[in-house]
Structure formats: C-alpha cells, structure tokens
C-alpha cells in the first residue's frame, strides 16, 4: 500500500512541525499557494512503520551477498555513517567561515593527499558528485587543455566497445564525438584498431583498467605511448580501482586524468542509487584545469580555493563543495585502511574473484576469458545454457534471488553474450563465495530438470517478474489520487 493510501484528511505528525501556523500576511496574495499539495496525511508511527516495512523488501549488502560486477558492493562500515552524524560535522553550514571549518577542511585536505598518493596523480579535486560527473570533469579538462593550447580541432574521444555507458555520454556532454574501438577475444583492446582511429582529431581515450570485461589491459603502456604520440590524453575510469588499489597506479600507467568512485572503492554507501563521490586526479599538465573548490593548506590553516585562485579551472560542478559528507565517510574509511589496508583491498578482492572463477569453471560454467586471470571481477557466459536449455542469464539472475543472493551484473558489457559479471569484493568470506557457487550449481540442475520453474523465478520475493513494457507504455510515474 502506498503511503498516500494510508492518509486521513487532517492527520499529521504533530511533534514534527511548529505548533502554531504563521500568518504570512506580509506577502502579496498572488504569490501564495491556494490549495495545499496532495501529500500524505499520516502519523509519525505510520511513517516509521511504512518505511521500515518497505526497507525489508530490499536486498542490500547488510542482508545479502551482492556480487554485482562493476559496482564493488563491499561492506560499508557503519562507523563511517555514525561519525559524520556528529554535531559539528552534520550541522556545519557550507558557507561557515574558515574559523569554524578547520576540522572539516583538514579531513578534505588529507583525503586529497591520500587519493593523490594511491593513484599516482599530481593533484586531486574532490568536487565531482559521482563517477559520471567525474568523467565529465575529466573530459572537460581534456578539452580545456587542448583549447588552452589553441588545439581546437581535437574533437574526438575514443572509447572501447566494452566501455560503461557513462563514458560516451560524458564525452558527448563535453561536446565530443565518440569513436568506438573493439575488444579482442582475449579481453584486451584491439591496438591495431586504436592506431587507425588516432589522429590530429583525437582529444583522448577513455579506458577502464582492469577493463569492464574483468581483465587487466596488459599493453597499457603501449597504448599510452600511442595516444600521447598522437597528441591525445588518457582518461582513466576508476570504477574498477578496487582491483589495483595500492598494487599499480593509473598515474604510473600513463593516464592524465582519473576519476575515482568513492562509493565503490572507498566503500561509501550506495544508498539505493547514490549519492556517490567521483573525485578527479590529474597529471601535471591538467593541474590548472581541476574543478573548484579544492582545499589548500599553508601549514597553518586550511582554506578553500575557488575560481579566484584557480582562474583556468573548468569551474564548479555543484553549488557547494560536492558530496561533502560522502567524502568524509571515504576519509574515515581511508584512515581505517591505512597504507597497508589499501593494498590488501586489491589483493583480497582479486583472490576472491579468482577463487570463484576457478571453482565455477570446475563446476562447468564457461568463463568469457578462460586464458586470463580474473581481476577483482570476472565474466561467465551463459550462452550455452541459453541455447541448449532456453535458460538465459536473466533467468539465472532471477532465480539467484530466491537463493537469497543478489544477481551479478547481467548483459553488461554487452559484447559478451548472456553475460554474468561477478564481483565478490574483498569483504566477503569464502563461505559466501561457496554458497553462491553452490546456488549456481543447483540452478543449473533446475534449469536442466524444471526449466519452467527457473523461467518463472523469482518465487519468494515480494513480487514476481514485472511487466516492463506495460510500465513504459502505460506510464504511471506519480500517484494521482484514489480514483486512479
């Protein structure tokens, strides 16, 4: 039942708003609202009960193994949440003067430094509010760089066919054209194809490494050399940074700009869709263009740097300083990990992925790249099952839900048919991995013996499969009152 359907006219949570109604008699009548909006009229208990019960209908890291490839669904330490809720942090106004900001700013500055070191970049700006905004900022810096040199013809950004959808979308938002290059059968990108598209029109290339197919791009140094020689810059999509944290650094690979997904690698919550934080780091040549604000430390006081101090910046991307208290959460996490902890993130997420890959392979599942090491994630293709049993990746995914496990990422990257992109993360125990594999084996058996049941899955969740076509055709995206 919707919260709207629990309404009763005149009911409200009386403790939650002022006891008296203000007159507003100083305001002209024509600016005032005539009828109140049709919002729920419910009690405090109804609200708490409704949303508590709704929450129970979700899968989440806190309740389920959630091996969603490319999303790094690792444990979100609860301390990161409770500490940012401390008075002094939770109620600090974004425009508070420096005298009332040193605590907050010192955390931000130190986070910039930590991210700089772990990525091998020259400087970091924390302001982008998610991965995609980090991409936008990064590509905008590439454009600003070429523009600053008067190199106005560079209007193409190269992306591999396996790239995440945000990569081409971000490049287009910066006014670029997209050139796609193929991925080879071994998972690396096709360097010959790359050479063909490189030229004076090349602004840069956007890569994820490990790539979205779950393998490390081995010829990255050669790619960097080729792109740089062609006058382009290299963009690093940090969605997969978890795989290499502390083991190898994008800066050392030759990348000029990188965004990080702190809501992945640095374990800030996904919150059912966000918020994220997508700081960007850059090599020397892009430093002037970093988005503002940034935090500076003169050895005594911390302060924000804005356009005034950084005239070549691509500008600000938010009203204030990005997703500040997500950044604080990432800072807390980074301090708990420390230097050694960072490296172990990469090591153990990689160990988990390779263990799962091997065991699934032994159980008869088909890796997409059987000759390659898994990184922190790997791909299984279920094309044989789809062809022979009529049970596709979606069916496996939905049936997994009945086993209490969240499905891996399906149908991304698209170039692998019936693909399952599996990312266990380092915070899951061998027991959770084994349970997943056993579930997959059982579903395989079910697929062979009771395929209708699998196709009808899930059976134990609040709803069964939903009619997406109806959803899009008969658009019902807002409650329209009881009559509907």
């Amino acid at each position: 039942m919707l919260i709207f359907e629990q309404s009763s006219s005149g009911r409200r949570a009386l403790a939650q708003s002022p006891a008296k109604k203000a007159a507003l008699d100083d305001l002209p009548a024509d600016v005032l609202r005539k009828d109140p909006p049709a919002m729920p009229e419910v009690s405090e208990l109804q609200v708490v009960r409704h949303y508590t019960r709704l929450s129970q209908k979700n899968f989440s890291i806190d309740t389920n193994f959630y091996p969603l490839g490319s999303c790094t669904m690792k444990y979100n330490p609860r301390a990161c949440n409770s500490l940012v809720m401390l008075p002094g942090l939770v109620d600090r106004h974004p425009h508070a003067p420096d005298s009332h900001s040193q605590g907050f700013l010192s955390c931000m500055f130190e986070l910039q430094e930590i991210l700089k070191h772990v990525t091998g970049m020259k400087q970091v700006s924390l302001s982008p509010m998610a991965g995609a905004q980090g991409e936008f900022a990064g590509v905008a810096m590439i454009r600003a760089y070429h523009d600053a040199k008067g190199d106005n013809e560079r209007r193409e950004i190269i992306v591999p066919d396996a790239a995440h959808g945000t990569n081409p979308a971000s490049a287009v938002m910066c006014g670029f054209k997209i050139r796609e290059i193929p991925t080879k059968n071994d998972g690396d990108i096709d360097i010959e194809a790359l050479k063909e598209v490189l030229g004076p029109q090349t602004a840069g290339i956007m890569l994820t490494n490990p790539s979205t197919v779950g393998v490390f791009e081995r010829r990255i140094q050669e790619i960097a050399r080729l792109v740089h020689e062609a006058g382009g810059l290299l963009y690093y999509d940090g969605a997969n940074l978890n795989a290499i944290l502390g083991k190898v650094r994008p800066g050392d690979m030759g990348f000029d700009v990188i965004h990080m997904n702190l809501h992945k690698t640095f374990s800030t919550p996904h919150g059912g869709g966000g918020p994220g934080a997508g700081p960007v780091g850059v090599s020397e040549r892009l430093v002037p263009f970093l988005p503002v604000p940034m935090v500076d430390f003169d050895g005594d006081k911390y302060r924000f740097l804005t356009k005034q101090e950084r005239p070549e910046t691509i500008g600000r991307l938010s009203a204030f300083a990005g997703n500040a208290s997500i950044l604080l959460r990432a800072y807390i996490y980074a301090r708990m990990l420390g230097r050694e902890g960072m490296t172990r993130v990469a090591e153990y997420s990689t160990l988990n992925a390779n263990y799962m890959l091997k065991k699934m392979q032994l159980a008869g599942f088909q890796p997409a790249y059987p000759e390659r090491r898994a990184t922190h994630e790997f791909i299984i293709t279920l094309k044989k099952q789809a062809k022979e049993l009529g049970i596709n990746a979606m069916d496996f995914a939905k049936r997994l839900l009945d086993y209490g496990v969240h499905a891996p990422t399906t149908y991304f990257p698209l170039l692998v048919p019936e693909c399952f992109l599996i990312e266990p993360t380092e915070t899951e125990s061998i027991d959770a991995l084994d349970y997943f594999i056993e579930s997959m084996i059982k579903i395989q058996e079910e697929a062979e013996t009771q395929s209708d049941m699998v196709k009808g899955a899930p059976h134990t969740l609040p709803v069964r499969r939903l009619d997406d076509v109806k959803a899009a055709r008969e658009l019902d995206i807002a409650w329209k009152g009881c009559d509907n």
Binding site: M73, A96, G271, G276, G315, I332, N354, K398
Partner: protein, 452 residues
C-alpha cells in the same frame, strides 16, 4: 586488514584451488615496472576507536555556533525518525534498483517521492533525483534546449538574481554544448528581475528562460508575469525553486497561464542536514509531454506475472546504460539515500507540516530583520517582499563583520559583496524555524557592539 575476513588457512586453501602459490601471482599480468612505487605518503591504518577519537576532535573544532547563513542551504528541523529509518542497512547499502524484484522497498519509495514532488510542484512528472540544485539547473537547461525544437539559438535568459554558484555550475555543465547564458538584470530598488529588461529580447530567438522563486536575495519574483512573457514567445521556462517554500507559495505548475515547463532546484530543505554542503539532491519535475527528455531515473508502477502491482525503472531508453552517447544525460549514480530521507521527511511533515515549517521560518525572519535593522546603519537593501532571507546593507565591510562575529560564535550570514560588489557592503541573513530568541539576542548584541 580491517574488513577482510580471510584467515591464513583460507587463503592457502583458495590459492591451492586457483593453483597459484601466492596472492602476488594473481597480479602477474601487470607489467612489473609499474609496481615500483611507495605509499609512504599515506598514513598507517587506524582502528575504529582511533578514528572515532579523531573525528570527535575534528567535529568539536567546528561545532557550536549560532548560524544565520542560508544562501542555498537551510538549517531546518529534521525528525529523528527520518535518518534512523533512511540509514537502515536495507536502504543504506543497496545498489540502484536494477533487480526490481529485490528492490521493491527502494522502488516504491522512489515512486512515492516522485508523487510527492509532482504534488509539491504541481507538475506531471518527476525524476528520482539529480546531484544537487546547481547541477540540476544545468541539466534543466540542456533539457530545455532538447525540448524546445522550435528554437535554434540555444540562448537562455538567466536573471542575475540567480544564486551565482548555480550560474557557475550550470555554465560549467552546458558551456561545451553551444549554449549561451544571457544575464537579465535585477531592479536595484525591488531586487526582482527587471521585467522591462526583457523588452530587449522581444524579437530574439530565445530557447529558454530561468525563473527563481524566491531569488538569491530572498526576494519574491513576479513569477506569473515572467512566465506569461515566456509563454507568449514559446520560450521554455525553467523554474528554480526552494521546494519547502512551495508548500506556501504558488508552485511552478501554476505560474502564468500554463505553468512552467520544467521545475528544478535543491532538495536539501526537505530533510537533508547541512553537512558542509552535501550530499544534497537535485530534483526535477516537468510536463508530461517532455518527460522523455528528462535526465535521470524514473520509476513506474506496473504489474507482475501474477497481476500484482509492483515498481520498476522505466523509460530507460533515455539513459546512458541503454543509449550511451545518445542518452539525455550521463548521470548514473544519483542521490538515492538523500531522496530516501526526503521522502520519509515529507511523509512525516505532510503538506501542513511543510507549510508550518516554511511559515515559522519566515515569521522568525521578520523578527530577526526588525531587530537587526533597528541597529544604526543596518538596513534592508530591497523593497520587495522576501521569504525567510534578506539582504542587509552594513555600514562597514561585510568581511569584517563576519570575521568579528564569528569570533563570538555568531555566523552572521553570507557575504553577498563578493558576488555583487556593486551592492556595496551587503550581507544575506537567513532564518529558519529553529531560530531562537536567545540566538537573535546574541547576534543583535554583538553586531551592535561592533558597529558602535
């Protein structure tokens, strides 16, 4: 190894299964010369106890002031239940609801959010959030340009009374797509957008126009007149509003004859703590006919295999994960958790509670301004009615006032002189329903002392 559950024995077992000798062997595809670097610059790990001590200390450094700053972020009461429920693990640690069956909690909540926002704005459709108010405006401009097929210019009229940070951020976002933002002056007397300044554009091809309510000075705009002017010229209107205040002011859907085309803004006043400026959330509503141009996720209600109602992501063909370079926006991760809190907050307050909150904020503000303007040399800059925020003229430099009062733990407002040097020494002060008489007394006393 905080957060890593592996025992040494398990590691050995796993390595044996894989068939390698060490974890390092798993990284053998990485060129060796890339792995020579030092992480000395990163401090050693802390236990939770240690980091908790550190954060308590940092928090205390910034705590304990009387705050009269608004300027886009407002210190409203948030019911305790809001964040206690919103941060339940099932909301906090879930991903974007791609697997609808395993995400009905978040999906239904988002549908309810969309329903509340459309009610508040009196618009047809809402998305499930954008990053923040400023970037939402950038997206709204791009959407307006996509939607207004009749116009070719890409020119957007933007009043100078728009929050300058919004202007800057929107500019960063749209500038690479051939869009031009044209400033419209404010009447120096009233603080409202100067209607006569629009005459200059009477015969130009203008794609869209931004209308704020209230504007950055707290001043209430002639939204009907502005909207009507745009309607007559087929100019898309983009409303930038404070959603809390829409509980008492005429909402965008009722402006002019047909209402604004797009409404967007900062969701922070709906249950999001100040927390240094983020995470907040941008909201966006629009008319039904342009919903396919909207950026961001949208949730729809539908039926499952058994005919039972359920919720799912819909109109995904607008989005980057389907349309890639042809998507309406690059946005992927949005501000889900903030919207979770805002939905609970709005349900808790209801229309009446929001209206009382807005009303009390404004009433408190009238008290504050009348007290402050009793001080010699302090006066309101603009003559038009405002809503819970006012621009004051000061007899000395704003910077100086802010610094001196901060020493006494009074954060007196936002330094508007930085952005509008032409206004002289001006300060933007704000009130919410949380303002106390004691706080006002201290503010007045300290300011009086400073100015005398």
């Amino acid at each position: 190894m905080p957060f890593i559950p592996h025992t040494e024995q398990e590691v050995q077992q796993m390595l044996a299964t894989i068939g390698v000798d060490s974890i390092d062997d798993l990284f053998d595809e990485i060129p060796a010369e890339l792995t020579q670097f030092s992480l000395e610059g990163i401090p050693e790990g802390l236990t939770e106890m240690e980091v908790s001590g550190l954060m308590h200390q940092r928090a205390r450094q910034d705590a304990g002031a009387h705050c009269f700053i608004g300027a886009g972020a407002y210190d409203h009461h948030i019911p305790a239940a809001v964040w206690e429920v919103a941060t339940r693990g099932e909301f906090y640690s879930a991903y974007t609801p791609y697997q609808a069956e395993a995400s009905q909690g978040t999906l239904q909540l988002l549908y309810e959010f969309q329903s509340m926002m459309t009610a508040l704005m009196d618009m047809d459709a809402s998305n499930a959030s954008l990053y923040d108010g400023a970037s939402a405006l950038g997206e709204a401009m791009l959407m307006a340009v996509r939607s207004n097929r009749k116009s070719k210019s890409g020119k957007i009229l933007v009043p100078t009374s728009l929050n300058p940070a919004y202007r800057d951020a929107a500019y960063s976002i749209v500038k690479n797509q051939g869009i031009e933002m044209v400033g419209i002056a404010v009447d120096a007397q009233t603080g409202k957008t100067d209607l006569s300044a629009l005459d200059a554009y009477d015969n130009e091809d203008i794609t869209a126009m931004v209308i704020c309510q209230p504007n950055f000075f707290g001043v209430l705009e002639d939204v009907d007149a502005l909207t009507a002017w745009a309607e007559q010229r087929n100019i898309m209107t983009v409303a930038v509003v404070n959603p809390l205040i829409m509980s008492v002011l005429k909402p965008p859907g009722q402006w002019g004859s047909n209402g604004a085309d797009i409404a967007c803004g900062e969701g922070q006043p709906l249950g999001i703590p100040l927390s240094s400026g983020g995470p907040y959330f941008g909201f966006m509503c629009c008319r039904e006919k342009i919903v396919r141009q909207m950026p961001g996720r949208i949730i729809g209600r539908t039926l499952d295999l058994d005919g039972k109602p359920g919720f799912t992501l819909t109109l995904q063909a607008r989005e980057q994960h389907i349309r890639r370079s042809k998507a309406t926006s690059n946005i992927c991760t949005n501000q889900g958790l903030m919207v979770t809190a805002a939905t609970i907050h709005m349900a808790m307050l209801g229309a009446e509670g929001l209206a009382r909150t807005a009303g009390a904020s404004h009433q408190n503000h009238r008290k504050l301004v009348s007290r402050l303007t009793e001080i010699n040399g302090v006066e309101a800059v603009f003559s038009s009615p405002v809503f819970h925020e006012t621009v004051l003229r000061l007899p000395i430099a704003t910077d100086q006032v802010l610094t001196r009062l901060a020493d006494d733990d009074v954060l007196a407002g936002y330094n508007l002189s930085k952005d509008y040097p032409e206004l002289g020494n001006v300060l933007l002060v704000c009130s919410t329903e949380k303002q106390t008489d004691q706080g006002v007394d201290i503010f007045v006393e300290k300011l009086k002392n400073l100015l005398s």
